[in-house]
């Protein structure tokens, strides 16, 4: 990593996203910058965008000298950007069509002293601080003399220095007509050199930008990816080496309760989730469920789909009760669909970035992220995918990515975009074909920082929405679909049988309990009777004893027996 150096050179911000970062402030003020690169590498766009931003942001005036294209061509090309160039051309920007018409006859050597005199007059009339010489090589080649070319380059340099203008000179260096000699010399002459490069990788054009020289200033070395969107050029600065994502402990729903439970309570806010699977394994449905849940929480959500239109997605998701329409209507949900054929991954990234700036979502779905590699530029796509994920993480946005993998092996994803190594949670969807059925199985392969279920679940789609069902294993085989249903049925049958058996047993027990009760009752009866009998017997006996003594008294009284005698007898007996 380079360190920001003290700035001996005053700089002017170009307003080109990313470039001011890698150049630590922009282009050198009142100095000359050389932009070199092959045809179509973005030199003209860079130069024009600098001028447009100077006019817009600092109310400066500029001159654009076009050696290669007519003003009409330039305007047509710039028309793809929202710069409002035609309005600026009235008073703020002066375009000089400096192509030497083929009808002009050349006889002997010419020079630029006249042109520079005219430009000086124009500069003073306009108050211009900026000048662009676009495609200077085209004119200089007409001199057909390296010494003369060098002389004219010197002339321009002196003129720029005298007039104190900030200048951009563009020149084709690769695949152009000119020999590189003079441009090496030009690199020596200018204060800053920016190299633009476009190459084709598997039919996709990839743009790169590199600062190769910056006199008196430090800059970030290396090639940086370049993308174009409606605002112009966008340079992707390097990701900071240090990762500083705040780690949230807030859990949010992944869309449905069962999945949240499998994830130990939901997804962490700001985390990234990757869903892999073959086509048709319901990746979009899961992603849709997540997006819908986010909208229901009132969170702004962005749904990016590649190679499938927003309308069919909305319709298809509605069939499994995932309703996007009202969220689209309320503006909470924003959908963006793009084709991936022949569009570079960088441009997709730029577009998604712009959407995020514009919509500021808290949740994002990208379905499928693997599509950005479809056009073939795998290496670039890989870099874009990771930059995208880090960019979302830096903003604390929770993201759901889907990826189509080849074959049913989840590890196949790892060889492709390598998103799985960056993603916090990785859910894999697969098919299980058995007994003439194709069923969907959901597995959580990883989920960082949280407990998660290690069990396979069956994903069942119905008009009521996706549902996760338990799966059975029987004899070491996972049962799903009808087999699962049969197994469930069997389980239900067994339960019923168990219940019947239980009922039967209970009734039996109740009967024997009643029987015992009855027997207890009988015995109690016996006991009572015996007690009664016993009581009866005891009282009878007592009565007999009482009556016998009474009878003896009575007898004595009747016989007038001497009680004393009796007592005496008793006493004598004592």
């Amino acid at each position: 990593m380079t360190v920001v150096a003290p700035q001996p050179l005053p700089k002017i911000a170009t307003g080109i996203a990313g470039f001011d970062e890698i150049s630590y402030g922009g282009l050198p003020r009142q100095r000359t910058t050389l932009l070199k690169g092959g045809p179509g590498s973005g030199k003209t766009v860079f130069a024009l965008q600098c001028l447009v931003n100077a006019v817009r942001k600092r109310k400066e005036r500029g001159i654009f000298v076009a050696f290669e294209e007519t003003t009409g061509q330039l305007l047509a090309n710039a028309g793809t950007f929202n710069w409002g160039l035609p309005a600026m051309m009235k008073k703020k920007l002066f375009f000089l069509d400096a192509r030497l018409s083929p009808e002009v006859v050349q006889s002997g050597e010419f020079d630029l002293s006249g042109m520079l005199a005219m430009l000086k007059a124009k500069k003073e009339e306009l108050g211009a601080g900026w000048i662009v010489f676009d495609g200077i090589d085209v004119l200089l080649t007409l001199l057909r003399d390296p010494a003369a070319e060098m002389r004219e380059i010197y002339r321009i340099r002196d003129w720029l220095a005298e007039n104190g203008m900030s200048a951009i000179i563009t020149a084709k260096t690769e695949g152009g007509l000119s020999d590189a000699v003079n441009y090496d010399f030009m690199q020596f002459m200018v204060d800053c050199v920016v190299r633009l490069n476009r190459r084709l990788e598997h039919g996709v054009s990839l743009h790169r930008l590199q600062i190769t020289k910056y006199r008196g200033s430090d800059f970030m070395a290396g090639e940086f990816p370049l993308a174009f969107d409606a605002t112009g050029m966008d340079v992707a600065p390097p990701e900071p080496a240090e990762i500083r994502h705040p780690a949230s402990t807030e859990r949010i729903s992944a869309g449905f309760e069962r999945l949240d439970k499998m994830l130990g309570g939901g997804l962490f806010r700001g985390s990234s989730t990757l869903i892999t699977g073959l086509p048709g394994t319901s990746k979009t449905t899961l992603a849709g469920k997540f997006a819908e849940a986010a909208c229901r929480r009132g969170e702004r959500t962005l749904f990016v789909s590649f190679d499938e239109g927003a309308d069919p997605i909305v319709r298809n998701l509605a069939s499994v009760d995932i309703q996007f329409r009202r969220h689209l209507k309320s503006g909470l949900l924003r959908m963006y669909s793009a084709r991936t054929e022949s569009t570079g991954p960088e441009d997709h990234l730029a577009k998604v970035k712009a959407l995020i700036r514009d919509h500021s979502p808290r949740c994002v779905v990208i379905d499928p992220i693997s599509a950005i590699a479809k056009a073939g530029a795998v290496e670039a796509a890989r870099a874009v995918a990771s930059r995208l994920i880090y960019m979302l993480k830096d903003r604390g946005i929770t993201v759901f990515l889907t990826a189509i993998n080849q074959g049913d092996d989840p590890a196949a994803e790892a060889t492709d975009l390598q998103v799985s190594t960056i993603a916090d949670t990785w859910i894999h969807l697969s098919y299980l074909i058995r007994s003439g059925e194709r069923n969907r199985a959901l597995t959580i392969i990883k989920s960082r920082g949280t407990w998660h279920s290690n069990q396979v679940r069956e994903l069942v789609l119905s008009s009521g929405g996706p549902v996760l069902a338990d799966v059975y294993t029987a004899g070491g085989e996972v049962l799903m679909g009808t087999l699962r249903w049969e197994k469930e049925d069997e389980e239900r049958g067994k339960t019923l049988q168990r219940r019947a058996e239980f009922d039967h047993k209970r009734r039996e027990l109740q009967i024997s309990e009643a029987d015992t009760h009855a027997r207890i009752k009988g015995l109690e009866h016996d006991l009572e009777r015996q007690r009664a009998e016993l009581a009866l017997y005891s009282s009878d006996n007592e009565a007999r004893i009482v009556s016998s003594s009474e009878r003896e008294k009575e007898l004595r009284r009747i016989r007038s027996a001497d009680p004393a005698k009796r007592n005496g007898s008793n006493g004598s007996r004592k």
Binding site: V105, G108, E109, F110, D111, S113, G114, M115, M118, A121
Partner: protein, 94 residues
Amino acid sequence: MAHASKTLRLRLYVAGGAPNSVRAIANLAAICKEHLQSAFKLEIIDVLQFPLRALADGVLVTPHLTKLSPSPATKIVGNLSDRGRVLDALGIRK
């Protein structure tokens, strides 16, 4: 066809005393002397003095020679050292 029937009107744009401009004036003078006698009108404009006018006239590099009439109008850039091309362009060679 290159008779003095119609007056040849020429305009030469130069950049002050720049070497190519000085050379162009000399070359043109020689051509006129040899091929045109007196049947021509030449106007020399110094771009350093009238830059905005030259710009409006469509001048880019100097020296720049324009044949205003007879038509067709032609433009020649350079110090006019290639006399053959100048004569062709002005239509004054047999």
